[in-house]
């Protein structure tokens, strides 16, 4: 208990600094994105930037609270927290408010709370808790099934809320499983499948199948133990060919029209810049017009005059790109990379398996939001509406990421005491 006194001296100041930097930059960018001449005070509570300031102050309280709470609380109550947010995710389907097609919000007073944002954090806790027992081996099928279920369950509930973007986020936990011992081939497959999927849509599928056949044949012929690799090569060929055809089927028959359009836009098959391609094109115009040095703080015209839709939430990165140019965008990317890498490095110095795997969960969550959100703004990925941590306007997201990060900082500060 005496070590508790020193908690504020042992927290990782690098992580805290990165956090503070990102939060402040996010706030200024929201101000720039919504800025207009008639409401100039950044503290104006009727404007989004004023509200964001309140959210930031609240998250400071959250961060401090987490730093005072006994770190064992989170591992002790991980399942309970997980269960609570699963329940909330179910309740929101019935009691929630529908915003932009997603029924994922609780209306509390003037603010909306999105349980999905917190469910991500809860899942990271539960997964770390489950895999954190020393005798758990992920190669054991039962363990794997339960671990995957922990991930899939909230994702399915969120899918029921029609919030596809947030559901996709849960894919990131494969990195935690990988670190816990999952075969590298699974990770590889998860990386290859999207690439193959895109290729399936832009290259003639029969040519693609022929190429796959050649590759499988090559693997087989190069192998020394042909009897064994025959099966593997065949499996790879059949699986990948099946994927090629099912991607076609999925895109044309399963996806909803607006999702299909987004994919077509991305692949360059849809150049309707007033319709489905409008968002991405305007996003690129805003970012591209920033050039090297940017137009300067509050000088962005594309974002300020609403050419970019959802500019304070999903497309907040456009404001960075337009007003701060390549330099500013690069700095933001570098800060995020710094945050994620620092978390991973810190995770690996944990003595507690729970703390370590939880750290990987935190890094993975940051990574997937960072990757999808900026990738979308840069026109590399289809339009998927998920926030950029600390930058996108909104209390739920900010609070969830603050809690997520500070639980880890708390664990890390106590790494010598926790086993």
């Amino acid at each position: 208990m005496k070590s508790e006194k020193g908690i504020f001296y042992r927290i990782d100041l690098v992580l805290v600094s990165l956090y503070v930097a990102l939060v402040l930059m996010g706030w200024l960018n929201i101000y720039a994105a919504v800025y207009n001449d008639s409401h100039q005070a950044i503290t104006d509570l009727h404007q989004k930037y004023g509200k964001q300031m309140v959210f930031i102050l609240a998250s400071l309280l959250l961060a401090i609270s987490i730093l005072i709470i006994d770190p064992k609380f989170f591992s002790q109550f991980a399942y309970f927290i997980y269960g609570f947010f699963l329940l909330m995710s179910v309740v929101v389907i019935f009691a929630g408010r529908e915003i932009a097609g997603s029924k994922s919000w609780f209306a509390i007073g003037g603010f909306g709370i999105q349980p999905a944002e917190f469910a991500k954090m809860a899942t990271a806790l539960a997964l770390a808790k489950f895999l954190g027992y020393l005798d758990r081996n992920i190669k054991h099928p039962r363990t794997l099934v339960i671990a995957v279920s922990i991930i899939i369950l909230p994702a399915l509930l969120i899918l029921l809320e029609h919030d596809t973007g947030s559901a996709l986020v849960f894919f990131c936990f494969v990195l935690v499983l990988y670190r816990a011992g999952l075969s590298g081939y699974v990770l590889l497959a998860l990386l290859v499948i999207p690439v193959l999927g895109v290729l399936a849509l832009i290259i003639n599928k029969y040519i693609l199948v022929a190429v796959l056949f050649t590759i499988s044949g090559f693997i087989y012929l190069r192998s020394r133990r042909r009897a064994r690799t025959l099966m593997i090569a065949l499996a790879i060929f059949l699986a990948s060919s099946g994927l090629v055809f099912s991607v076609h089927f999925a895109v044309n028959h399963v996806l909803e029209p607006h999702q299909r359009q987004r994919i077509n836009v991305l692949l360059g098959n849809n150049t309707d810049l007033k319709g489905a391609g409008y968002n991405v094109n305007q996003s690129l115009i805003a970012i591209g017009s920033g050039r090297f040095w940017g137009k300067g703080f509050l000088q962005g015209t594309q974002t300020k005059y609403n050419f970019v839709p959802e500019q304070s939430t999903d497309f907040i990165f456009c404001t960075v790109g337009e007003e701060h140019g390549f330099i500013g965008s690069f700095i933001v990317i570098a800060l995020f990379l710094g945050l994620m890498i620092r978390i991973v490095m810190n995770a690996d110095r944990q003595r507690s398996k729970f703390s370590r795997l939880y750290g990987y969960g935190v890094a993975s969550l940051f990574f997937i939001h960072f990757g999808i959100n900026i990738g979308m703004a840069l026109g590399i990925l289809p339009v998927i509406g998920i926030p950029l941590p600390f930058f996108s306007y909104g209390g739920s997201s900010l609070w969830a990421f603050t809690i997520l990060l500070f639980i880890f900082i708390r664990q890390d500060a106590m790494r010598n005491e926790l086993v």
Binding site: D37, N137, L175, Y178, R179, A180, G181, G184, L187, N281, Q282, L284, I285, A286, I287, G288, S289, G290, R291, F292, T301, Q302, K304, Y305, N306, F307, G321, G325, F326, S329, F330, I333, A334, F336, L337, M340, I341, V344, M345, A347, D348, K353, Y360, A363, F367, F370, G371, I374, G375, L378, G379, I380
Partner: protein, 621 residues
């Protein structure tokens, strides 16, 4: 076992870095390597709003304002913003029906839902008054100010010309013009377009995604001001022009008056004419169509510059001058007239009864056909030339030196050449060189294929009054400043005829008025010289023609009058010309009953015509 997997953090970090690298590469491409995004960004937010300058004003020679501008307004619409408006009310205000409203909105929306297009062009100030008070009730509609041409006096429509929207061809060829700009289509508006139009200005505004104005771009650093067009001081005399138009009411024809010492056009009347205020603003298209469709009176046809008339006996003056220059005619030359000039095969150019024989002055005074047929023969059959053709070519060159048969080059658009037939024409008609002086003898009395415009006739009178030279006639005497001189028209153009030969012709013209064919139009207080003409033509009754100048010395005004299908030159053209001279030189007309008779006569609508007036009273020419 799990400890042994620590290397995996490197793979995970590698994935993070790879994504960061992809993003950085993409940023380099989008922000540094390609330009299209910054161009699109400017297209998004910058609106270039043209500031239209006022066109230059036009004054008359006495400083009266003739052409000016009035504020007009284009009603613009941004379809996206035009919501929940009272359509019926708006339709009532601008005077269109519901279908037309819908049609225009669809057109505007097709152009762009976010950008402005013209909904109703050139609303006059009066109509804008009603609209202005209620405009706030129609979101998405606003007005852009333009100017509209206005004419103080409803005169000289053909001379002023009109302005219209620049055509795609013009826009293609001249970078000054943009779609929706106006340009002078003809008349002074066209010939002085580059001075009148002024300089457009540009305001750069910033707009948001709904095209709402967000203020000027960089505090107006790239804005330019509009400069109004240059004012023009015309040589027209408003009183004289208006008076001439009244005299020519209900007649077809033209009056052109020139100040011989300068070549300044004092008036240029074409009848029938139209009110220039008809071809202004949004009523222009409809009125223009009506004017074009009037094929009976052809009000758009600028007779002063485009109608070619056989000059009739007025051409005898040219015969007299060229004959002397060629050395085949002298003041003392006398020919007798047996009542006509025989051209063989029993055919004859008739002449009226008059004393005979006559010398040159007498022949001009009496307008003897026989005399001038002989003069013309002596020119063409001159033994100094080797052939009829050579003599004719020489004659033609000297005639054209008077500015006949070719454009004079005045500063109003639409002028035509007229026609002094080329030898090739007669070759084609009669066979190569198979024509002789007798074949083309009618040229000698200003008949046949010869065609001369009223402007050329007036210039002929001016040239004779100057004793052998003229300035190119022009309508704009000063540009920008009232007392400057239009530099294009200062050069004296001499004819090929020696100035010494003109005095005798001037004397003959003085006698025409004092005791010759035009003596009925004599004005006691003014010493003027003239020559009547009666032009036969295939379109009906003879054209009545008269050219004159006054005073005989220090001439102030030279004039031509053509009244189509009206009869003898002395019956209509001469009295009209004399009234014009009196009006200009005395500033008021004392012969009220003559004035009234001329103004009231209607020679085109087939009602009384006054055709019988003076039959037998006037001498034929």
């Amino acid at each position: 076992m799990e400890r042994a997997l620590a290397y995996r953090r490197l793979i995970i970090i590698g994935i993070f870095l790879a994504v960061g690298l992809i993003f950085t590469a993409r940023l380099i491409y989008v922000q540094i390597l390609v330009d299209k995004y910054i161009l699109s960004a400017n297209n998004n937010v910058l609106r270039y709003i043209t500031q239209y300058p006022a066109r230059g004003l036009i004054f008359d020679r006495n400083g009266k304002l003739l052409v000016y501008n009035e504020a007009a307004y284009d009603l613009m619409v941004i379809p996206r913003q035009a919501k929940n408006i009272d359509t019926a009310e708006l339709c009532r205000l601008i005077g269109i029906d519901k279908d037309e409203f819908t049609r225009r909105m669809i057109k505007a929306r097709n152009y762009s839902p976010y950008r402005q297009s013209i909904f109703e062009a050139q609303i006059t100030r009066e109509n804008y008054g009603f609209l202005e008070e209620k405009l706030f009730r129609f979101p998405g509609f606003f007005v852009q100010s333009r100017t509209l041409r206005k004419y103080t006096y409803s005169i000289a429509a053909h001379t002023f010309g009109y302005i219209g929207e620049a055509s795609p061809d013009i826009i293609e060829g001249d970078s000054y013009y943009r779609s929706g700009d106006y340009i002078g289509v003809n008349g002074i508006e066209k010939s002085y377009e580059s001075l009148l139009r002024g300089e457009k200005g540009m305001k750069v505004r910033v707009v948001d995604v709904l095209n709402r104005d967000k203020g000027s771009f960089q505090e107006g650093r790239y804005d330019t001001l509009a400069y109004a067009g240059t004012n023009l001081y015309s040589s027209l005399d408003e009183d004289l022009q208006e008076y001439g138009e009244k005299l020519m009411a209900n007649k077809k024809g033209s009056i052109v008056a020139i100040e011989p010492s300068t070549g300044e056009i004092l008036c240029m009347i074409t009848s029938p004419t139209y009110d220039p205020n008809l071809l202004v603003g949004n009523i222009r298209k409809k009125n223009y169509r009506n004017l074009v469709l009037d094929t009976v009176y052809q009000p758009l046809f600028n007779r002063a510059l485009m109608a070619m008339y056989p000059p009739g006996s007025t051409f005898k003056l040219v015969d007299a001058l060229v004959g002397q220059q060629e050395g085949v005619l002298f003041p003392t030359t006398t020919y007798s007239c047996p009542g006509g000039f025989s051209i063989g095969n029993g055919k004859m150019v008739g002449c009226h009864s008059h004393p005979s024989p006559l010398n040159l002055i007498g022949a001009i005074q009496i307008s003897c056909n026989t005399y001038f047929c002989r003069v013309f023969r002596s020119i063409i059959d001159n033994s100094s030339y080797t052939s009829t053709r050579q003599a004719y070519e020489h004659w033609r060159k000297e005639v054209m030196s008077f500015g006949l048969g070719r454009k004079l080059g005045l500063d109003v658009t639409g002028e035509l050449n007229g026609n002094i037939p080329s030898p090739a024409y007669y070759d084609k008609y009669h066979g190569k060189d198979r024509w002789r002086s007798m074949t083309i003898i009618s040229l000698g009395i200003g008949q046949g294929e010869i065609g001369i415009t009223p402007l050329q006739l007036a210039n002929l009178a001016a040239t004779i009054s100057n004793r052998g030279w003229y300035h190119i006639p022009h309508i704009i005497r000063a540009i920008g400043k009232k007392d400057s001189i239009n530099p294009g028209f200062t050069e004296k153009k001499f004819t090929d005829v020696n100035p010494a030969y003109f005095d005798i012709v001037v004397e003959g013209m003085a006698d025409v008025v004092s005791e010759g064919t035009a003596r009925a139009s004599k004005i006691d207080s003014i010493d003027f010289c003239g020559k009547t003409g009666t032009a036969q033509n295939p379109h009906g009754k003879n054209h009545s023609i008269f050219i004159a100048f006054a005073p005989k010395l220090n001439t102030k005004i030279a004039i031509s009058v053509v009244v189509e299908n009206a009869g003898f030159g002395a019956a209509w053209a001469a009295p009209i010309a004399s009234l014009m001279l009196e009006k200009y030189l005395k500033r008021k007309v004392s012969r009220k009953d003559l004035e009234e008779r001329m103004m009231n006569a209607d020679l085109i609508h087939g009602i009384n015509t006054g055709n019988e007036i003076g039959k037998g009273h006037f001498l034929p020419d």
